[in-house]
Amino acid sequence: MELNRRQLLTAAAALVVDQWAAARGIESAAPVGRKMIVVTCGGIRREDTFADSGIENIPHLYKDLLPQSVLFENLRNEGVTSHYNTISSILTGNWQRLDDWGKTSPASVTIFEQLRRQMRVKRDQVWLISSNKALTAKIASSSVAEFGPEYGANVVFPKQLLIKAVVQAAQKGEAVHSTDRATVAPEIEAILNGDNYDGLGWNVGGDPSTLDKIALGTIEDAITDLVKTNAPVTGDEFTYLVTVEVMKRFAPALMVVTFSDMEVAHFGSYSLHLGGISTVDRLVYELWNTVQGMPGYKDQTTMMVMPEFGRDLDGSTTNGFFNHRQGSESTRGTWMMCLGDAIRKPGLIEEPVLQTQIHPTIGKLFGIKTDASGKPLPGLWL
């Protein structure tokens, strides 16, 4: 990515986060205690990553991060292999069987709620930042009566901000031309000023959610300049930059980041799917380096990186890599890399572990009790 373009994206990301904070009069949080970052990255087959045929797609994970990590070689998704259900299952420690489109909240208590209630931390200490269109803000908290939105996380969908701007312009029949910034800007303004913009999922609830003119103008400039470039703009890039801005301003104790560029596989381009994997490889590496450069994070952060599931087998009736619903080993079997504070001895763990064990692992790391049925993951210093 060219420096100029990234600077513009960074400015847009910073303004989005600033606006959120300004609306509440919140100052930057002081860094406190251990931290956890969970990164999920769509559906990726083992053969396209940690296998002889896939290592070329993940040079940073393989060469730079693997030597300092614990790699769980056999992480299993035994639930519904859709995005909303899988991430809900990871967050709750119980396999969720919900509407795939995120119409209902998870049926079991999320780690966000446990953390906020037991440790009495503010909402700005728990975040979910997601590229994935399949999620909704309902994932921030459960439908369990004693918990719920009062203890939920902040949820941000940065990619949706951009998509909605573009799509709404298109629906009105106005093409987005490289020089036609007047077309895009009103759409962005409308979205940012909207009362019920669920793409941000911040539940402003009566607070004015308008951006000041200077902030709005800068975002417009950033996005208009993005349109001018010929290089592909990825949603994950913007999600990454918003994540870094949130880290800088709030230093959250728990962040869940979901990337999804590789989900272009649903439309049948294997090369773009592999490109999405490479983007995530780079962004995860950059995120880890960013962690090392932040005093509030360095030496006290554990980062988990995992695909949500694999993808279907070549030759399956579900059309192979396009989808992730076959229920085969190729779909359910995946891996997870753990880095940082919870690692005392890098290595490989071959024994099968479940995604539902992540919730009690995070709980133990923060010293809180959880209702999850599974045990914490082995091989980590919690």
Binding site: D99, A170, P232, V233, H266, Y270, N319
Partner: protein, 409 residues
């Protein structure tokens, strides 16, 4: 409904009775096929008839014993209490099933019951001999392949031939060789020509002798369907309703010449567009998914799939990819030869794997031609291998003529 193509009122009534004897979750698919009888291909009609004859041949006690585990499972899954649509498959049905904890067990039970009923239908009948078939995949000259490495990613053992002559002639020669033959299926579903462009000998959509689909000829229709699909909200219930509306819409003004005269092909195309898998987004995905579905639904004697070039995602469309790129951005389209080559090679292999999935695959000569590498890979049944044993080169004429002969049986 008085008389549907090839099915009388009495036969339909008997079919409906047979469907009613099936467990709840097996009814929507068959009911959907009966409702769309006029748009089914010859092979599909035969398959439905055979299956229902197997149901009819079973006594109530036999069928009850066979289906009891499935019925009990449906009860355990709560499907008898849920609003499970029986008239046709739906997104809502699929969602209910897929997120149920017994989904895997359910799939296995349905597979078992289907297999037993089909076995019953075939009882006492002589096994039919599968006639030889041809599937030709073309990776056009615009896609860069290295002659030394082009077939390395193919896991299947095949015969690699260097093509001595104008390799771009192979596809049109094969089409010429097979077009003259009398199609076994009167609806034209024995010969499929699926192309990203219009380079397969000028066959048009709806050509009586062939099922021909061209990505470029379908530009207007595809753009319209894509626009309509993009109105689908985040609600499974609403999705079913909107998809039904799209299916029923009169889009004849946007259909290329001939398509509207072929109800089977029109229905096939709309089903294809609405079943995802990139058929509305990328030309190579369209070709692969159309080929795979044609092999599944029509079991043709000859299928030619010609892949092509994909453009690089434009700025912004990389993040809003389920959109019409031309409409979103007026920046000039830029080809992506390298990425397209990766996509097309993978998807050509998927066409092969689709062909292998069915009994007909055992008698299918599968040939993939990489024009830029001047090379062809032959994946053949044992009986056909001897024809090419020890050969390393062929002229376009030799290969096309041989494929023509295979197709003639």
């Amino acid at each position: 409904m008085s008389m549907m193509d090839g099915m009388g009122t009495n036969e339909l009534a008997e079919f409906r009775k047979a469907v009613a004897r099936l467990p709840l979750t097996m009814r929507p698919s068959v009911n959907g096929q009966l409702a769309e009888w006029a748009t089914l291909f010859g092979y599909e009609r035969g398959r439905v008839r055979e299956f229902l004859s197997g149901v009819t041949a079973m006594t109530p006690a036999e069928l009850e014993a066979l289906t009891e585990p499935l019925r009990k499972l449906e009860g355990k899954m709560g499907l008898d209490r849920a609003e499970f649509h029986q008239n046709a498959d739906s997104m809502e049905n699929a969602s209910l099933l897929a997120r149920n904890e017994f989904y895997g067990e359910w799939r296995e039970q349905v597979r078992r019951v289907y297999a037993a009923i089909e076995a019953r239908a075939r009882q006492g009948k002589a096994a039919e001999t599968v006639k030889p078939r041809v599937v030709l995949a073309v990776l056009p000259a615009s896609l860069p392949y290295d002659a030394e490495k082009v077939w390395k990613r193919w896991k299947e053992p095949g015969i690699a031939l260097r093509i001595d002559g104008d390799v771009t002639e192979i596809a049109t020669r094969v089409v010429s060789a097979v077009s003259g033959s009398k199609a076994a299926a009167s609806d034209g579903s024995d010969l499929w020509l699926i192309d990203t462009e219009t380079k397969l000998g000028g066959a048009k959509a709806g050509d009586a002798a062939a099922m021909a689909l061209s990505w470029t000829e379908l530009d207007g229709l595809r753009a319209h369907v894509l626009e309509r699909v993009n109105t689908v909200p985040r609600s499974i219930e609403m999705t079913d309703q909107i998809l039904a509306t799209i299916r029923a819409e009169d889009m004849s003004a946007l259909e290329p010449a001939g398509l509207k005269e072929s109800p089977q092909l029109r229905r096939f195309l709309i089903d294809l567009y609405l079943s995802g898998n990139g058929a509305l987004i990328f030309s190579n995905a369209f070709v692969q998914w159309a080929a795979s579905e044609a092999l599944r639904r029509a079991r043709p004697r000859v299928l030619v799939a010609r892949f092509g070039m994909r453009q690089k995602p434009k700025p912004f469309t990389g993040i809003a990819i389920f959109e019409n790129q031309e409409r979103i951005s007026k920046l000039p389209a830029v080809d992506d030869p390298k990425g397209s080559a990766v996509d097309a090679e993978m998807l050509a292999r998927y066409v092969y794997l689709s062909a292998r999935r069915y009994p007909e695959g055992e008698a299918t000569a599968y040939v993939v031609v990489a024009e830029s590498a001047g090379s062809a890979l032959l994946l053949l049944p044992e009986a056909m291998k001897k024809e090419w044993a020890g050969k390393t080169t062929a002229t376009p004429g030799e290969l096309a003529e041989w494929l023509g002969r295979v197709a003639q049986g």
